[in-house]
Symmetry: C2
Subunit: 115 residues, 2 copies
DNA sequence: TTAATATGCAACCTAGAGGTTGCATAAAAT
DNA sequence: ATTTTATGCAACCTCTAGGTTGCATATTAA
């Protein structure tokens, strides 16, 4: 809650594995691709066009929800799932950190070789 | 092999799940964090400081290697693992695509509400 | 030549992922 | 009042991820 700005360093690196894990499945990547493009989808809508069972899709959605990548809200007899960009923004920060570290390592190596 | 430049669209979206999956584990995230900061590490070096067995660490390294995130090369009696930034650059592209889709969805919604 | 290191490989174990079927129930449509 | 439609929940199944122990073997160091 403190130090709001420039939280780019992976202080909460430990909490990112679940987000990566949630994206580590083709079915879920497809769901994310759908959900990030349009407004809320119901489970049935997300199931249409998939070879999987509604229950299987539901399980995948729960995984994404646990990682915070999507949120659900009941509306009448259907429950709508909506994309949330925050967790993905979070892991992007982490990946940037990794890339940066790597670049610095290369720089150090280069200047070492040159001297 | 064709269309080299601007391959930012997730044409090979299907092949990215393994990379995400490889990063979906705290132990492996820690290994990546180590490996991206310095040059090659041997398995024993990577094992020191971990509560896990050398064999367990080895398995994790093989997972990372299968995803292309690290490469290994035998050097005498030890095998050195080195970071490779490409797969991570690839999933960053994918995440950018997702974020962009979401922003566009928001824009469409906004202009729809305003009209 | 011996002892110490660094790995590889295989067998084994447990918990959880990913799917399915079946049944119950709330809401919406006829 | 009935019949669809959309979900939730639970039981069950198979396969694999993540770990461990034990043993064999190639390299180095003493």
């Amino acid at each position: 809650m403190s130090q709001k700005h420039r939280s780019a360093r992976p202080v909460d690196r430990h909490s990112r594995a679940p987000v990566f894990a949630a994206l580590g499945d083709d079915t879920r990547l497809a769901l994310v691709a759908k959900l990030c493009g349009r407004r809320p989808y119901s489970i049935s809508q997300l199931t249409r066009g998939s070879k999987l069972t509604r229950q299987a899709i539901t399980k995948h959605l729960r995984v994404l929800e646990s990682a915070g990548i999507v949120h659900s809200a009941r509306a009448g007899r259907e429950s709508r799932f909506e994309f949330d960009p925050q967790p993905i923004a979070g892991i992007k920060e982490y990946l940037d950190f990794v890339s940066e570290q790597w670049d610095q390592a290369l720089s150090r190596l280069k200047s070492f070789v040159e001297n």
